[in-house]
Amino acid sequence: MLTPERDQLAENITKWIDQYGGNRSALLPTLQEIQKRHGRVTEYAMQVVADKLSIHPVEVYGVITFYAFLDTKYKGRFIIRLCRTISCDMAGKSRVARQLENDLGIKFGESTADGRFTLEWANCLGLCDHGPALLVNSQVFTHVTPEKVHDIIESCRKAFGAHTLQKEEVHIA
């Protein structure tokens, strides 16, 4: 990672921790901000957070690994999470799953080589009356059919082209 980027990240972390109260309770919202802006929480970020909160970086690591929506490893720009719980299952999630795998060319738990997509299972999304349901990042798609999968992926690709240059979404390694 380049030094100016690191400095920027450290500056942001200080800002977020202060904004969320400046103590240990600020940890989760701060990690969520890092995840949102940078796509994952790097070792460097963990170290900075730990220093600011005067805790051991392992504490930070322990928290990150507990939560499904926080990652230490890099994931795709679009994280597609298909609900696998009972009502979406009964509504036909398996066929949607297969189509997602086919159209993206990856299996669940994998990311595409171009870094655009990650495919994951989610537990109950609370959209049981509109299944099969999935999230693309925080956006909701309901009544998904195998046919609609292509459109969903295409709309992501279009958004990706338009947004790549937005500074706050740049991934830093």
Binding site: R24, P29, T85, I86, C124, G126
Partner: protein
């Protein structure tokens, strides 16, 4: 996304602000008396009397107290809090404000599950309006000396954080691992201070009760289960969606309303609830009979109940926090057993052992997750034995 209702919810007929106004005219004990008299019990699943909880927190001696709204809604088949927060968030905040006044809290936190991030802006917008209208902040609602603020905190994809002590751990910046209870949050909650955690719907009813009176609420429902309840209905029925019924409604009446009368079983209370077979559809949905936080999943005649059990156990195996052995190991063992049953490779002796393991988990697990996760499996074994034993394995099919 369009929402489906039987009829407009009572919440949409409640005049905004009326409940808070009525509460602020009473003293703190008066508010707690009113909530207690209504018979309101927690809508998040456990059904603890709300008035008693508020009273315990009010009685705790500490200048710092918290009100926490549990919007972590993760129980499979539950989505009513999503709808309430979409359409009636104002009423939920009104209920939190009434609670804060009653117990003497200055700060409230709404813990919203990460999966509902798309609702965050909407909810923050409503909070902003309440601040502008001086319903929050110093002298909130025009009551001199009453100060209250609400903040939204997000979850990050962990079902267990819906358990109240895990939720508090999460708010404190820890892994969401449940604590031993007692001490209960009303004494030792967020940052060690007395804290009232209530479900989204509970707060909305509290505001409604202050507006319409405890008598009105108490008259609806049964003796032990007063009032109306919002249900999340999904699965094999014609009209899935959000419904409002009085507690004490029979499963059959409910199925009729949602177009699911041909069901062979209904899961009441989500994955951690119970699976009720058709011959018991005359049972009541109420705290004293079949209890629920609102999740109703309908299984049509063609459903493979073992597959249902598999789906539930996969959920619990994945969501167990791993802190205690019965739950961490038990869910995996039962899931393995289900796979053996599916392949037709499970002896009766081993099935009995699995059931005994399930009973041990119910007794020995630290929190509600492990104490209830075997429920569905056990009731499916009990009620659908002929679907489970002697199945042709994949190889023979």
């Amino acid at each position: 996304m369009s929402e489906t209702y039987t009829a407009p919810l009572t919440f949409s007929k409640v005049k905004a602000g009326k409940g808070l106004e009525a509460a602020l005219e009473l003293d703190r004990a008066g508010v707690i008396n009113e909530i207690t008299a209504s018979g309101l019990k927690g809508r998040g699943g456990a059904g603890f009397p709300t008035g008693v909880k508020w009273n315990l927190a009010a009685a705790a001696k500490d200048p710092v107290k918290y009100v926490v709204c549990n919007a972590d809604e993760g129980e499979p088949g539950t989505f009513k809090d999503r709808v309430i927060l979409t359409d009636h968030a104002d009423l939920v905040f009104e209920g939190m404000t009434i609670c804060a006044y009653a117990i003497g809290a200055k700060k409230g936190i709404l813990y919203l599950r990460g999966e509902y991030t798309y609702l965050q802006d909407h909810i923050e917008g409503i909070l902003r309006k309440r601040r502008e209208a001086k319903l929050l902040g110093k002298n909130a609602g025009g009551k001199k000396g009453f100060e209250f603020n609400i903040e939204v905190r997000m979850g990050s994809g962990a079902y267990i954080c819906g358990e109240e002590t895990a939720l508090i751990e999460s708010l404190e910046g820890q892994r969401g691992e449940p604590r031993n209870r007692p001490p209960f949050p009303v004494n030792t909650g967020f940052l060690g201070h007395p804290t009232v955690p209530n479900n989204v719907e509970t707060f909305a009813w509290a505001a409604t009760i202050m507006s319409k009176g405890s008598e009105w609420f108490k008259k609806i429902g049964t003796d032990k289960s007063a009032g109306l309840k919002i249900f999340s209905v999904s699965g094999d029925c014609k009209q899935p969606g959000v419904y409002e019924f009085p507690l004490g409604i029979t499963i059959k009446e409910l199925l009729k309303a949602v177009g699911g009368l041909d069901a062979k079983a209904v899961q009441v209370g989500g994955a951690s609830g119970s699976c009720v077979p058709a011959r018991e559809f005359n049972r009541k949905i109420a705290f004293e009979d079949v209890a629920t936080g609102g999740s109703i999943i309908v299984f049509g005649p063609q459903r493979d109940m073992l597959k249902v059990a598999e789906n539930f156990m996969e959920f619990f195996h994945d969501e167990s926090c791993g802190q205690c052995t019965p739950c961490r190991e038990g869910n995996g063992k039962i899931l393995e057993g289900i796979h053996m049953l599916q392949q037709g490779k499970c002896s009766m002796h081993y099935l009995r052992e699995l059931c005994a393991l399930g009973e041990t988990m119910q007794l020995a697990s630290k929190c509600g997750l492990g104490q209830t996760s075997p429920n569905a499996f056990l009731s499916i074994v009990k009620n659908f034995p002929d679907e489970i034993m002697g199945r042709a394995g994949a190889a023979q099919e």
